[in-house]
């Protein structure tokens, strides 16, 4: 049997859906292997995961709470990757956004209560955005690779945050913990429901996804971003200002990651610390890839990843299987989606046995 690959002209919507579903099923089947090796029934483990993620109001709230920053960092990656701007720095941008929120919202700045929260959010957006505009400018001016710059800036930012929360920004009432002064009440994002952790950041994330979706389809800016991302040479030839468009993308991308930081500080923790994010910035890349860089898909993919992590925690407590299984599920899902996208681009052809070979 002779197997060959041939490029596909076009992939139908039905085929795309089938491939996505097949990728999900394949990932779950693959994860079943280590679960079996751990001596547990995969079906039981998956049932416990689903229950842990969606089984109660509390579980659902935890999942949505976890999904909130992932939606925003996922969108940050999606909008940048669409324009072929490789922003790997959402983690750092998230922290800078959180830092801006603390600087503006911890009582130093006196504002009417109605303006406080919008100001905090705008500050976080701009700070995060600036954090991405700088690498984009360096790339345009000097040709430096933005992957390297944004990736390394993550470490610079986190060390900077550590310095601040142990020094100038340290809360004198924190009993020695390295955390910043807290936000004042007016600067905090309200909870969605009493006694549950999920907060208005979720609404911000969903609105941002809708806004991006509309921007891509309905606005001149979205049109130009698509053109620049899909074919820079043709965009330049057609008179689209490629560099300026890239800077706008950088601002939006970094800004969304900055908003994720605002959400964590103003919606969950109330203060800044160097362990604010367990890698939301990096997970956002996975979320965006799972979503095929679609804004609406990013919301769904963020929910999926959040549910896997929250569900796996709960399953791990019940069965003794390590909660690292969550990383495995997410990683294998991504691999399966990537393999799936390969089959969207190529078709397999089974030829007859070669004559005379």
């Amino acid at each position: 049997m002779n197997v060959r690959l041939e490029p596909r002209e076009n992939a139908s919507v039905g085929l795309r859906l089938c491939v996505s579903l097949a990728a999900g099923v394949a990932a779950l089947l693959l994860v079943a292997i280590p679960v079996l090796l751990a001596g547990r029934s995969p079906l039981e483990a998956y049932a416990l995961m689903i229950q842990g993620a969606f089984g109660s109001m509390f579980a659902l709230s935890e999942t949505l709470n976890r999904a909130t920053p992932l939606i925003l960092t996922g969108l940050a990656a999606a909008v940048a990757f669409r324009a072929k701007l490789w922003n790997i720095g959402a983690e750092g941008q998230l922290y800078i956004g959180a830092l801006a929120a603390v600087c503006v919202g911890s009582g130093l700045l006196q504002l009417p209560p109605a303006l406080m929260l919008p100001t905090v959010m705008i500050a976080g957006f701009l700070a995060g955005g600036l954090m991405m505009v700088i690498p984009a400018v360096i790339k345009q001016r000097f040709g430096a690779d933005e992957v390297v710059i944004t990736l390394l800036l993550n470490f610079v930012v986190i060390l900077f945050i550590q310095m601040l929360v142990e020094g100038p920004l340290k809360d004198p009432l924190s009993m020695g913990w390295p955390q910043s002064v807290p936000l004042i009440a007016e600067a905090k994002l309200p909870k969605l429901l009493p006694r549950l952790r999920m907060h208005w950041g979720l609404i911000v994330g969903v609105v941002a996804a809708l806004a991006l979706w509309l921007m891509v389809r309905k606005t001149v800016l979205g049109f130009e971003i698509r053109a620049v991302g899909e074919n820079k040479a043709a965009a330049r030839f057609a008179g689209i200002p490629v560099d300026a468009t890239m800077l706008k993308v950088a601002l939006i991308s970094g800004g969304l990651a900055g908003l994720a930081g605002v959400g964590e500080v103003a919606g969950v923790k109330g203060y800044l610390s160097a362990d604010l994010s367990p890698g939301f910035g990096y997970s956002g890349i996975v979320v965006a890839m799972l979503a095929g860089l679609s804004p609406i898909g990013t919301v769904l993919a963020a929910l999926f990843v959040a549910a896997v992590f929250v569900g796996a925690d709960s399953m791990s407590r019940a069965t003794g299987i390590s909660s690292y299984i969550a990383d495995l599920v997410v990683a294998l899902s991504l691999l399966c989606v990537l393999v799936g996208s390969f089959f969207l681009r190529f078709r397999l052809r089974f030829g007859q046995q070669s004559v005379g070979a």
Binding site: E9, N10, A227, G239, P241, R349
Partner: protein, 514 residues
Amino acid sequence: MTDTPVLLSLSNITKRFGALTANDSISLDLHRGEILALLGENGAGKTTLMNILFGHYVQDEGDVRVLGNGGLRALPPGSPGAALRAGIGMVHQHFTLAENLSGLANIRLGTEPLVSFGREGAARAKVQKIIAESGLDVDLERRVADLTVGEKQRIEILKALYRDAKVLILDEPTAVLTPQEAEGLFAVLRRLAANGLGVIFISHKLGEVLAVSHRILVLRGGKTAGELETAVADRRAIADLMVGKAVAAVVRTPANPGEVLFALEDVSLHGAGGGRALSGVHLTLRAGEVVGLAGVSGNGQSGIAALISGLAVPTSGTMRLYGDTVTRPDPRALVAKGVARMPEDRQHDGVVGTMSVADNIAIEEVRSGAFSRMGLLDRKAMRERAASAISAYDVRCQGPDAEARLLSGGNVQKLILARVLERGPRVILANQPTRGLDVGAQAEVHRRILAARDRGAAVLVISEDLDELFALADRFVVVHAGELQDAGPSDGLDRGTIGLMMAGQGPAAAELAS
């Protein structure tokens, strides 16, 4: 020719891609010492057939047989290695040479084990012998990067012959050559054929096919449209075979040049790629006149195109549009002022493949009031404009929402024509306007360009196809090594003069020589 043994035989080759049948039961025999021209429009199936022959694709039906020990033997499908071993050599349109190695090293590349001390002498002797027999004269010791395009092509041919090719396939070999260089190539091919090589010459240029081949196989829409002996072939009849219907020749009426609309005055351009440099260029484009720019590719055409497109700023000198100096050209401003630009590489620079036909028609003016308001796209206006363009310019596609990448080359060009000509532009840059287009689409593009000229537009046509320039241009300029020479009105010019100017000789010298 048919009395010599058959070297290569394809029988009933069929290849389908989904619903499309790229090759429909095509058969051909190539004899020893024969030059067979494979003629057809883009999309006729020439490339698919050669890719099957060379093992890049596997045919659905039919087989390939090559003369081996004791007669024709079937070639295993899908194996380029087997094709090479069977003595099939291919010279691709885009060369596959390692630029930093010498010609000799390139010729030996892939034929010997990693460690091969002392074999260089034998290899050189073998190549020298081939050179002596074929007339493929080239300096083997120089780095390929320092060779001219014509010399690189010779290295490619030597590479195939060094591997004892019995069959040599050349894919559009003259696209990069001056007329004189092409003549040299033809002489070499005739000599090689006389020594017993079988040659398949792929082309869409009728003139050279008639000049060099013994036999012509015309493909159309994946099928054999006809097969004829060159000696008895008639140009008109072949053209009709290629397109399947009679094509009306485009008639150019005498020009009526008016005022100067666009001018380059002593313009130089440095940097940004060697092929773009210009020095002291003077060029004027007048209303109602087509200027043809001839030149071997890479001599500065792209620089002139970049200037008119608004993608480059003159290093020195003045660029004028309607008499006003353009200080900071940019594409958007030029488009707004009535400059129409057709890019050289229409797939790469002309369209965003994953965006729709409507998007690609609106892309140059997306910020203008025609297609957007306050930063919001007017999708309705874009789609309406696309629908009218599709019917007015006969763009074959599924509709305004079809992705541009699904369009054939000819239809992409029609899309670009619709985009730039619908605005009634006053200055038009047509850079390789019909490269890779079939005869029918070519005539359509030419008709549109001449119609724009008659409307009073100033047109610059840049082309590597002299036939095209003679069909369109009222006046010729020739570019060589970044310098532009005026060759005067096209009436009374002959190809030889243009060819010598393309090779760098002034008009005076060219006239003396001709």
